[in-house]
């Protein structure tokens, strides 16, 4: 029973990270109809930025802020300097360019930081707080939940209650009409990428300290798991991404705990295949075609 509780909490904590990352994937999908396969590599780059800042200043939080800032900048740069120029004649083009970006980012990071695993410290303790003899959440888990919850709430508020959010949604749903209404559609797209990259940066900062360490390929499995989560929830659905993330986190945690952690990548593959074969639209498939 103890083990089950532990795995559940751990799964939810990991799931929260997948939820955040899946949100980033969904954000870009809704705005640009592209799955950003470079999302993981971009997140890793921002964590390296945080690493450097923390090393230089000795402050984790400055590094954290640096990661988010780096995310905003990197997202905007990638959209403006690269993705904008990709021809949309084939959906493959954007995927291939994103993959080129992955290699480029990995290589640059490898040159500047080397390919060794660097352990990263967490700002809070990772030992569980015992409640009634059962080891439950750790302070770090609470931090993760809190951070992801904050992001989800902030994004929800941004999109539903602010003028900028309205513009972003409109630009994504109906770009031409939005331009006629004075919305800077191109700018909203860049903003979307910047936000998504910042959310990805947050997810990276939360998850990397819990894994083997910082390494140019560190987010590969997280990307695949989060992509699976986004697909589970339906690529068009932000609430779906969150629930999908938590679900995937739980499933992988149980598999890792009861079967073995080495099996995790295979479990992700099996889960992804299962969802795509049974309910390709995702659990929350709503509007799949865009109305004009």
């Amino acid at each position: 029973m103890d083990r089950f509780v532990f795995l559940t909490v751990d799964g939810l904590a990991k799931g929260a990270v997948y939820a955040a990352f899946a949100l980033a994937i969904v954000l870009i999908w809704r705005g640009a109809r592209i799955v950003n396969f470079a999302q993981g590599a971009m997140a890793v780059a921002t964590v390296y930025a945080a690493f450097s800042v923390t090393q230089a200043t000795g402050s984790y939080w400055l590094g954290f802020a640096a990661a988010l800032a780096a995310g905003l900048i990197l997202g905007a740069v990638v959209e403006r300097a690269v993705m904008r120029f990709v021809s949309h004649t084939s959906p493959l083009n954007a995927v291939i360019v994103a993959l080129g970006l992955v290699l480029l980012l990995r290589a640059v990071l490898g040159v500047f930081y080397g390919n060794e695993f660097r352990p990263v410290e967490t700002p809070f303790s990772r030992t569980g707080i015992t409640v009634g003899g059962v080891s439950l959440l750790s302070r770090y888990d609470l931090f993760v939940f809190g951070a992801v919850l904050a992001v989800v709430v902030l994004l929800a508020l941004l999109f539903t209650r602010t003028a900028v959010g309205l513009r972003m949604r409109s630009a994504a749903f109906a770009p031409e009409v939005s331009r006629l209404l004075g919305v800077n559609v191109a700018g909203m797209l860049t903003l979307g990428w910047a936000l998504a990259a910042a959310v990805g940066a947050l997810a990276g900062m939360l998850v990397i300290p819990t894994e083997l360490g910082l390494h140019p390929n560190a987010m590969d499995l997280v990307f695949v798991s989060s992509f699976t989560a986004a697909v589970v929830g339906g690529l068009d659905s932000p609430p779906g991404a969150v629930i999908g993330g938590l679900a995937v986190g739980l499933v992988l945690s149980y598999v890792s705990g009861y079967v073995g952690s080495d099996v995790t990548p295979l479990a992700v593959l099996a889960l992804l295949l299962a969802v795509l074969l049974i309910r390709p639209g995702g659990l929350f498939s709503g509007i799949r075609t865009r109305h004009v």
Binding site: L166, R169, E176, L180, H291
Partner: protein, 239 residues
């Protein structure tokens, strides 16, 4: 004579190799409703898209209030007083009625007036007020047209480009919309460039008429004269 609010000279525009518009001249005086008529494929929609900047003309000049619109981006048009309601209405189906209306005014610096304008639109269209929280795709054709029109009005435009507003609407609603256009012209001095397939209803409300055939202007006179010119009507307007 006061300057026309819109002046287009020798517009040549199209998609790809062959142009659709072959040297179109157009003039819209202030506080006037000008109907643009012609058969399907004549270039009416292309004309509106070129005027609002969605399509760049390969040659020709467009003046809005005397200012050359060359190099002005589409997003700037509404700030200069030109609102374009495209073919198919272009309401954003995923957003609510209220959000669609807010969208019409989101560019404005004076948000208080934008909110005021929104209330005025709700007064004008009680049906919309009743359904303000409904999503766009839940509205009927007539309600969508009202929403598109209302959204354009929030920008308090001086020139309104309307592409086939009566498409798919019942005659009663079409008449209401036409009457509304007249009312706006009289009360606010709004100029309207109205593209319509429904020639009768367009000419019933228009002050002037422009007939386009195969990308060229073949007639531009008072609506009165167009209504009376049987030969012209037979040749280009089908009745």
């Amino acid at each position: 004579m006061t300057e026309p609010i819109l002046q287009a000279d020798q517009l040549v525009a199209g998609y790809g190799a062959a142009p659709v518009l072959h040297g179109v001249d157009l003039s819209v005086p202030a506080a006037t409703i000008v109907a643009v008529l012609g058969a399907n494929g004549a270039g009416k929609t292309t004309l509106l898209r070129t005027l609002s900047g969605l399509l760049r003309p390969s040659s020709g000049r467009i003046l809005l209030d005397g200012a050359d619109l060359r190099d002005v981006r589409v997003e700037q048009m509404v700030r200069r007083g030109m609102a374009h309601v495209p073919e198919g209405r272009g309401i954003v189906a995923e957003l609510t009625v209220d959000e669609n209306l807010r969208l019409g005014g989101v560019w404005r610096r004076d948000q208080r007036d934008a909110r005021l304008a929104k209330d005025e639109v709700y007064d004008l269209f009680p049906a919309l007020a009743a359904r303000r929280r409904h999503a766009g795709h839940q509205l009927s054709g007539g309600e969508r047209q009202m929403l598109a029109l209302g959204r354009a009005l929030i920008a308090r435009p001086r020139l309104l480009l309307l592409d086939e507003p009566s498409l798919g609407l019942a005659p009663r609603i079409t008449a209401q919309i036409m009457a509304l256009l007249r009312q706006l012209r009289d009360e606010t001095g709004l100029a309207v460039l109205l593209v319509e397939q429904n020639v009768r209803s367009a000419l019933s409300v228009a002050d002037q008429g422009v007939v386009i055939s195969l990308g060229r202007v073949v007639a531009a006179t008072d609506a009165e004269q167009l209504r009376g010119d049987v030969g012209l009507r037979h040749a280009y307007l089908g009745f």
